[in-house]
Symmetry: C2
């Protein structure tokens, strides 16, 4: 490996906000810099959580830092989201989340009472998700060198079910399911941040998905792959899975649920709901023969009540969206930054 | 548990730098806020790493965020230190470090080439420590809302040796050993930060301690407890262990190794080397009968060449330092912030 910087410095001498947006520049940074340097078979799978063999046990391990603004928003806050996001990353590989760490980077001058509110919210979110916070860390940075609070949560879970859940397991003809409607988190954040007074208050969908996923696995439903739809939205998640699987994914725009208030807000703001962030939704891939049974099972769970089939895995490549008008367009990673600091 | 903020808001309405300094205010924040809310038997042990039982395996799990300034300093940088610190936390409970996560919070505008230097340094540090980086995350915050780069590393290790290594294992009469001289990291950082031109360049002692610790365990030496000496230095580590063990610790000032350049710098700056941060030193407690064998074994390892016995566990409480003059003084946590953002 060359020791010179693998990111073209003429184009990107400095880190841009879009390097954290989940789109093309994030992908480039991860591929060319982090994977190039740290590369190992586990990391290269680029799944939501690493899957590790440890003396006969199969573990999952994941990390995420949360920098969302504002700290408190309709339907959630940074601390509950830090629990949900990490629990969800473990769930997406089929693991039962067990243990979390919580590391706070506080800015000097941050109100102590706000910190306490966040700590209580984190406690409640961990209880609801059935995980224990077993390790922690606190750092404080000078005023003007942070932004209130950043939280990192890392998580450990155990893989109790046989079989691998990964993009590489996809097969032509598999059904693509979606656990619920899109875009609530992104629009809730944007609305809170910009003080947009939409007529209907939109709440974030931030929620822990492990219970729903373990229901499906416990019912013996064969899940090929799952991914939660965070920054970059459904479109980016599907593009990543299509690439990693070497197969194509075709989805029907008319089948993708977006609630009226989110659709309206997206129209006003010029956003595509397929790219807007969610924190409590996931896509899953099951064999065609089990699609109906999986949907039926999902709809029994509060977080899957609006589950829908949205498409099919095909033999091509990339992600194709068939619009209501019957026109097909190819979905790709977004180039710039759609909504910075959404998670 | 009351829902009102457990930190007295009249005294501390806002977070202070000292809340991250490792002294009395950090202790108060952890005890009254984080432990009160998240409390569970594992977290309450407050060891360097959580020890978990998982289907017959004993795992260790830990997290730390790194906010040190400057990012590059004599003897190290934030990225190598992020590997060392987390590897050391795993080693301190007797675990073999196996897997790390690496989560970066970048500030918009951070030079891409500096990021690449850090990534390469992290790769080298992980290789040297024998750990794989298996999970990662990248976030970017707006210019002026971060400080170049913050790094969180979490780590998973496996406990291969029987017996528990913890403060509660201390017994009266145990020997207190120290793996090397004190204060290099703190003085190296301060010197780099303040542009102090000390005659002799002092390098940080930042290093991965797992190899040395596993040597000791592999030789069958019964270790009661260990702790690496980070923010807060030797004194704070011993105070924490004495409290958790319910026993007293007596150390001899004359036996505590401090190199001449560090001693000189501490005198000029009015710092007590017992409280200055280290990143590659640890204290360990062994039964009196094994003290010589442990020292002999430590000195065979490059990171333990200057290991010394510095004291003895007694039946009292607290930490007592016997000065060169024969005067005894009680060591306590430091009240304020000795050196902010040292790790």
């Amino acid at each position: 490996m060359s020791l010179s910087c693998p990111i073209p410095l003429n184009d990107y001498p400095n880190v841009l906000l879009a390097h954290g947006g989940g789109g093309r520049l994030t992908h480039q940074l991860i591929q060319k810099m982090f994977l190039a340097a740290f590369g190992n078979p586990t990391l290269e799978l680029q799944h939501d959580a690493a899957q590790l063999e440890l003396k006969g046990n199969r573990l999952a391990f994941t990390t995420d830092s949360y920098v969302v603004r504002p700290l408190f928003f309709p339907g959630g806050d940074i601390a509950a989201m830090a629990v949900h996001g990490t629990v969800n990353d473990l769930a997406m590989v089929g693991a039962r989340p067990l243990y979390l760490s919580a590391a706070f980077i506080l800015e000097e001058g941050f109100p102590m009472e706000s910190l306490w509110r966040l700590v209580l919210s984190m406690r409640d979110a961990a209880r609801e998700a059935g995980v224990q916070i077993v390790a922690g860390d606190t750092k404080v940075v000078n005023k003007g060198k942070g932004d209130g609070v950043f939280i990192n949560t890392s998580g450990v879970g155990i893989l109790e079910y046989p079989g691998r859940i990964a993009p590489q397991e996809l097969r032509t003809g598999d059904a693509v399911l979606l656990s619920g409607d899109l875009g609530r988190h992104g629009i809730a954040i944007l609305s809170a941040r910009e003080g947009l007074g939409f007529e209907t208050a939109i709440e974030s969908d931030s929620a822990p998905l492990a219970g729903l996923v373990l229901d499906l696995l416990g019912a013996g439903l064969p899940i090929r792959c799952m991914r939660d739809l965070t920054r970059g939205g459904l479109a980016t998640a599907l593009v990543e899975i299509a690439e990693a699987s070497g197969l194509g994914i075709a989805i029907e725009e008319a089948a993708v649920p977006v609630c009226e208030p989110v659709r309206g807000a997206c129209e006003i703001l010029g956003l595509d709901p397929l790219y807007v962030a969610n924190e409590g939704r996931f896509a899953l891939f099951v064999p065609e023969a089990q699609a109906e049974a999986a949907l039926e099972r999902m709809r029994r769970h509060p977080l899957g009540r609006e589950a829908f089939r949205i498409g099919t895995v095909g033999s091509g490549s990339g992600v194709t969206l068939k619009s209501r008008m019957g026109v097909a367009r190819v979905l790709d990673r977004i180039s710039g930054e759609q909504l910075p600091r959404i998670c």
